[in-house]
Amino acid sequence: MFGRLRTRDRVVLQVLATLIAIPFAYPIIVIVATSFEGQGAIENYTAVLTRTPFLRFLANSAIIAGGTIVITFVCTMLAAYAFSKLRFPGRQMLFVVVLGGLVLPAIALIVPIFTIMLGLGLMNTHIAVILPLAAITIPFTVLLAKNFLDGVPDEILEAAKIDGANTLGTLFWIVLPLARPIIAVVLVWTFLQSWNEFFLPLLLLQSSDMQAVTQVPLYFTSEYGSDTPKIFASLVLISLPVTIAYLSLQKLFERGLTAGAVK
């Protein structure tokens, strides 16, 4: 955008960008470096993995993320397909109803979620966290996927119709293969949301064998006092899956995020 830059200008840009980036990199460096201190890296990480229920927490979070991803993915693709390509009474209104969930903070539902899960006897079960998580994730993923499908030309679907495909067949054999980029975004986004969620597990999973990874630091502080290097080792471990997910799908993820938010 600047056109051609002189060497002096490029040096100025480089220095400014570095000055801004340092405070953003510094905490990451501190976290990783601290996790190597105390009794040493190997001892810290093995302690977290073997002498605490960390793997149990990891499994709980994986179950919660898996369940949320399945429900969110199925609901999102069916709904986005209908909102973008089918016509039915109340289409516009129902779309607004789904989008309404976008502005809602989950914590505003603390009383109903707590009493309903208590009443249904679902406290301390994965499903108690999965259902509200899916409900607050679906509005955003439906918006992203509908925006994407709006860009798929109707002619392609018309051709499938002439070839005799029915509505569901068109979704399976034509729409889903074309929608692969946005499917990746829906899956990664839902994974981030469910893996990183703190409030719902805090509220609904209180028995110590049901907790999620985001509760690990609290668990550590109450069980082991403040052994900072080990707590930071646990922070690194719980951040690894999301970091790997982001880095491996970086391009796709950023494109999807901006496509949904810039429109």
Binding site: L13, A21, I28, L94, V98, F114, I231
Partner: protein
Amino acid sequence: MATLHSPAVRGGRLRALLYVLPALIVVVGIVYLGIGYNAYVSTLEWSGIGDDRRPVGIDNYIGVFTDPVFWTSLSHVAIFAVVTIAAQMAIGLTMAILLSGRIFLGGVYKVVMFLPVVLSPAAIAVAFRDILSPGGGLNEALRAIGLDGLTRAWIAEPETALMAIAVINIWAWTGFSFILYQAALAQVDTDLIEAAQLDGAGKLRTLWSVVVPQLSGTHATLVLIGVIGALKTFDIVYLTTGGGPGRSTEFLTTYIYKTAIDGFQAGYAAALSMVLLLLSLLLTLIQMRANRFGRS
């Protein structure tokens, strides 16, 4: 009927409803029924766990609006929103512009800016609680560059605690502004930039009067997401200061949590939740309206 408007896929009109049904059941079943139930509970005096429900009409709402803690929390959210949104937009835009100059290792800078966005706020909060402690990383860095006089217990002192939480949020979310600005900058009309430079405008002047106004859609999106985000903020407050010291960093969300779970006042917490809900709805509508008028 006009074939122009015929849907791409034909099928029973009502059968199409089946496709949106699963999403509707989950969203309506939890979000909308939840709000309805919340509205009902907000008219009760109730501990949340027993059979001690007693209808009190609008007493809880009167209580909310005459509750000094409510107004304090609201003012904290407002200050937090203004500070974090302004800083995130300014830093994010500056970085997006700098990186558009194709600098060395641009990809690394990008990952550094965006990585915090994907990390769990719970992990970020715990890390910063330590970094901002009296013997933590920030004070260490200040001492290293000779600014010993500035060191303090950032999150334990009422004067700095709210700003400390704002800084954590800025660190965590600036990457989001940055990514959106980067995408928007790629779509800026380059003819206008060239025209401005032919007219003799300098680079900074061109940026400010030609590029920045073209990003108005992104500015609006970021303000909207930022305001809702500020109202939703819970994890980083709960896990760093817990709303303290005193009430100096109480947010509406932490106040609701304490009222419902620690205070066993489900009715009052439900009323607070309804106010939070209406507030986010109202602010969203105002901004969407303002944005539409701004464009036309």
